[in-house]
């Protein structure tokens, strides 16, 4: 990454900063930056507004099928952008059932698509934290005479602030760096920094311009992270963490508004495009219902553009995603443990927040930049006598980098919510740091670790951007295979691509279901 930026600024061995004037002197750059901010801010707000009721319903209420609902909620997050773009266009493009809305090629539809991807992120990062939040404070407020809304706003909402800030920063980064969805649904009028970097590198090989834009992207991402860190810090406090089983209640009439918003989000925003996709995958090109597309996955026709079957690609994807999720988990746990400490010295504090920002950066760096950067640096890196650039090993590493922030953002609110008194008490009783870790931190994050693992797995499974920019050995991952099938002329290849997308969604849902059932929760009530 750094090397790519450096390449951009070195002209004939001298540092050349002329690129700045050139890039920032053009109106197009400012339009692109404006578009990026507008889209990302709007998408963040709508995702939070719609994600909060979803988090409440999925993580605070008890109802039959909750586990399945939670697992299904993750599906939109991993669907290939290509496929979602197709589904949205089928709905609102010319000739689609919603064409009358006139939303085709509008900011609204871009924001809607970003929200489609990110509501699950909010629901999950806020929900896992909310599920373990002790609601006795809110109950106390009610007893003292506060109304339901007032009690929630003055007790629960502030307690949720760190998780909300975490979720907001994730959504903002995802939206600010989204690529395919902006181009497919908006076209060039809505170009953001990410698409512009792609245009400069791939079309013009203008590394200088791309480097300057990367830095601009960096600045925006850095600012967003700083704001979210400030929000988190101001809202962070030790909260009562309890066992999840002790929480949750049957839905009551008071929950109707949340349920209505949740149901509307699910049906209108998520179910419509996904059902469109599933229905289409069960039809032939002439519109008759058949399983042809699914048969093609197992037994590809002779003119299929793919190597082997889609099942092979799925199996490879699963293995790569497992490796990536494990790497992300190990790194993520260590990082979270470090970040959850609250040193008193200002220097250490600053160090920790810087480190926090550093972990989030892979999400804020464009996939193009990451891909080309890895290409330049991974030729016998660090003196290893091994060319990583064309190795399949690089794929899980890149995917782990992308999944790492998700892991950290899922675990950290829980870890930071642990009352330091607990640790002091343990230390007072003679436990060394290791024992404290084992007796307090690890059990408490156990459950969210299961979820974070599932999340990381799902994110790696659906990762397309960075993977597609790496040099890939013969075998393909499922999202790459889907993109190839959809972009191919052979008859039936398009349908097979849609069927493969449904398979990807099913694998994701299954993985999340497993993660939901993974209970490592051995904490007593404190």
């Amino acid at each position: 990454m750094l090397s790519l930026v450096a390449t951009g600024f070195l002209a004939d061995g001298r540092i050349d900063l002329g690129g700045f004037g050139e890039v920032f002197g053009s109106a197009r750059t400012w339009r692109v930056i404006g578009q990026t901010l507008t889209q990302a801010v709007l998408a963040t707000i709508t995702s939070l507004v719609l994600g909060l009721p979803a988090a409440y319903v999925l993580y605070r209420l008890k109802f039959r099928g909750r586990g399945i609902a939670r697992a299904l909620m993750t599906v939109p997050f991993v669907l290939p952008t290509v496929v979602v773009g197709v589904a949205f266009t089928a709905l609102i493009g010319p000739g689609g059932p919603l064409a009358w809305t006139g939303l085709d090629r509008s900011l609204t539809v871009i924001v809607a698509a970003m929200t489609f991807f990110n509501v699950p992120v909010v629901a999950r990062t806020v929900g896992t934290f909310w599920a373990r939040l002790d609601d006795s404070t809110e109950a106390a407020a009610r007893v003292l005479g506060a109304g339901k809304a007032r009690a929630w706003v003055s007790t629960t909402l502030p307690a949720l602030a760190p998780a909300l800030a975490s979720a907001a920063s994730l959504v903002f980064l995802f939206s600010a760096t989204s690529f395919a969805i902006v181009l497919v649904l908006g076209g060039r009028d809505f170009s953001n920094i990410e698409t512009e970097i792609y245009r400069l590198t791939v079309q013009f090989l203008d590394l200088r311009g791309a480097a300057v834009l990367s830095l601009a992207q960096f600045a925006i991402v850095g600012a967003a992270l700083a704001v979210s860190a400030w929000l988190r810090r101001s809202g962070e406090r030790a909260v009562n963490i309890v066992r999840e089983d002790a929480q949750g209640k049957r839905p009551t009439p008071g929950d109707i508004p949340a349920l209505v918003i949740f149901a509307a989000t699910l049906l209108l925003l998520h179910a419509l495009p996904i059902v469109t996709l599933v229905v289409r995958s069960l039809q032939t090109a002439s519109g008759e219902g058949s399983l042809t597309n699914y048969i093609a996955l197992v037994n590809p026709p002779a003119d299929s553009p793919l190597q082997g079957t889609v099942l092979d690609a799925a199996w490879l994807s699963i293995r790569i995603a497992l490796a990536a999720a494990l790497i992300a988990m190990v790194l993520g746990t260590l990082v979270s443990l470090v970040l959850s400490r609250r040193p008193t010295s200002p220097a250490l504090k600053r160090g920790i927040s810087l480190f926090d920002g550093l972990v989030m950066l892979p999400l804020g760096v464009s996939a193009v930049t990451l891909g080309f950067g890895l290409l330049i640096t991974m030729h016998r890196p660090l003196g290893i006598g091994f060319d990583l650039r064309t190795s399949v090993v690089l794929i899980p590493i890149a995917q782990a980098l992308v999944a790492l922030p998700l892991v950290v953002r899922t675990m950290l609110p829980v870890l930071r919510g642990i009352d330091p008194e607990l640790r002091y008490a343990a230390a007072t009783l003679g436990a060394g740091p290791g024992a404290v870790l084992r007796a307090i931190d690890l059990p408490l994050i156990g459950r969210s670790a299961g979820l974070a693992l599932g999340f990381a797995f799902a994110a790696s499974l659906g990762e397309f951007g960075a993977t597609s920019f790496l040099v890939r050995p013969g075998a393909q991952t499922l999202p790459v295979a889907i993109a190839e099938l959809i972009g191919h002329q052979a008859p039936g290849s398009y349908g097979a691509g849609l069927a493969a997308a449904v398979v990807l969604a099913a694998i994701t849902a299954a993985a999340m279901l497993l993660a939901e059932r993974f209970r490592a929760d051995q904490t007593g009530a404190f």
């Binding site: 197009r28 197709v86 266009t89 089928a90 010319p94 181009l183 497919v184 060039r188 590198t201 791939v202 079309q203 013009f204 090989l205 090109a285 082997g308 490879l316 293995r319 790569i320 497992l322 490796a323 494990l326 190990v330 260590l334 040193p343 008193t344 250490l348 080309f372 290409l375 330049i376 030729h379 091994f386 060319d387 650039r389 064309t390 190795s391 399949v392 090993v393 899980p396 330091p420 002091y424 230390a427 007072t428 436990a431 060394g432 740091p433 290791g434 024992a435 870790l437 690890l442 597609s468 920019f469 040099v471 050995p473 013969g474 075998a475 190839e484 959809i486 972009g487 002329q489 052979a490």
Partner: protein, 417 residues
């Protein structure tokens, strides 16, 4: 009391316990290390698992001596970098058998992406040979000395027509090879190292049935597309995002000149043309014959596309390519400069132009092999003929390399692409 002191100190020093607790602390951190270690161990195991399917992992250079052809480099492995829609596995098997080398294939993205990766890794190439850089980007490789000069001895006769010029000298013969003799073409291939393997054309496709049904005469030329009776009927591809779209742009520059193409594009947009990002978004998403409920009867696609719309009986196609709106692209292969195994790379390039591989091109890649002796599928000749050199609106690779960025930027500034 002592404990209280201890906790504050512990907090201040970030958890490092001193004094009487030292022993315990050491033990604690050992345990923490153990946890950490098993975690990393798990990740390492996962990676090792993966290595089982790492076809592209660097070969240690162990010579399996398959055919004893290995040259001075001492390695028997050859790596070929290709574009995304290439039959990797099948090719690796067949090429290994034919050349005696252990051929590995890595995919490095499409057109521009593949080209730029080759340019960026010039000093230490990701492969020994490449295939799949087309006319749009071919000169970029030549001008940056990414390719080793080499021409296969058994070059098919048709290849010379697509030879590209070594220098960006204005008007150097290429593309429409009508004015370049075969000998000249072979000479150019040997100088540049850019070996043509197959070719195709980007053309405007129309839904013939739609025009019959609406009782409108079908369009035939570039000029027709901006006429009022074809308003809101055309789907184009963004030339900054799709190499097919860029090929159509080149055609318009060839037809209208460097001072006329912008006005033409503006007229297209004024006439309601819709611009999509990729071929599948346009063809499947918007075209009436894409099978997905599209509403536009005119789309930028390929000369070969109508072959896929032939009916069950095999006597009619529902679409037609307008041969007056075509731009031809050849796809090139070559040996990369600084390749670890240049002999192997040359053997693989030889195999790409051999009759054995050329025969497979129509069915696997939907392109025309440069080897004219190869029989094409029957439906192609009847329903999806290629434009002739005279019909096509071609520019030389050198002209494209010189002009492309300017054209794209101009379109960006003038019509907001």
């Amino acid at each position: 009391m002592q404990h209280a002191v201890l906790t504050t100190r512990q907090e201040r020093s970030g958890g490092a316990v001193r004094g009487t607790q030292g022993v315990r602390a050491a033990r604690g951190s050992q345990q923490a290390r153990a946890v950490r270690f098993t975690g990393l161990g798990a990740a390492a195991i996962a990676l090792t698992m993966l290595a089982g399917c790492a076809t592209g992992a660097a070969d240690s250079g162990a010579d399996s001596g398959a055919a004893g052809q290995a040259g001075a480099s001492g390695s028997n492995t050859v790596t070929l970098a290709v574009h995304s829609s290439f039959p990797n596995d099948a090719f690796a098997k067949a090429a290994s058998a034919a050349t005696g080398y252990d051929v590995e294939v890595v995919a490095a993205g499409d057109g521009g992406e593949l080209t730029n990766k080759l340019v960026l890794t010039q000093g230490a190439p990701i492969a020994d040979a490449f295939f799949g850089v087309d006319t749009m980007f071919a000169s970029r490789l030549v001008e940056r000395d990414v390719v080793e000069p080499y021409a296969p001895k058994q070059l098919p006769a048709g290849a010379a027509e697509f030879a590209i010029a070594a220098e960006s000298a204005a008007g150097a013969g290429t593309g429409a090879g009508a004015d370049a003799s075969t000998a000249e073409g072979v000479q150019l291939i040997a100088e540049t190292g850019m070996v043509p393997v197959d070719f195709g054309a980007t053309c405007v496709n129309i839904d013939t049935g739609w025009f019959a049904e609406h009782d409108i005469a079908a369009p035939e030329t570039y000029e027709d597309l901006v006429k009022p009776q074809y308003r809101d009927q055309t789907v184009l591809l963004d030339p900054t995002a799709s190499s097919t779209g860029a090929a159509f742009l080149v055609g318009t520059v060839a037809a209208f000149g460097e001072d006329g193409y912008v006005d033409y594009w503006q007229a297209l947009l004024d006439n309601g043309a819709r611009i999509e990002q990729g071929w599948s978004d346009a063809y499947y998403g918007q075209f009436t014959q894409g099978g997905e409920g599209g509403t536009k009867p005119i789309v930028v696609s390929y000369a070969s596309s109508p072959a896929f719309t032939v009916n069950e009986a095999g006597d009619a196609a529902s679409t037609q390519a307008l041969l007056g709106t075509c731009t031809r692209q050849a796809e090139y292969a070559g040996v990369l400069a600084n390749a670890a195994n240049p002999e192997g790379a040359r053997a693989v390039v030889d195999y790409l132009v051999s009759n054995e591989f050329q025969r497979t091109i129509p069915d696997t890649m939907y392109m025309n092999p440069v080897d004219g002796a190869v029989e094409l599928p029957a439906a192609w000749a009847q329903f999806a003929p290629e434009p002739t050199a005279q019909q096509a609106h071609d520019l030389s690779a050198a002209e494209i390399e010189r002009g492309r960025e300017g054209w794209l930027r101009t379109l960006g500034d003038e019509i907001g692409l």
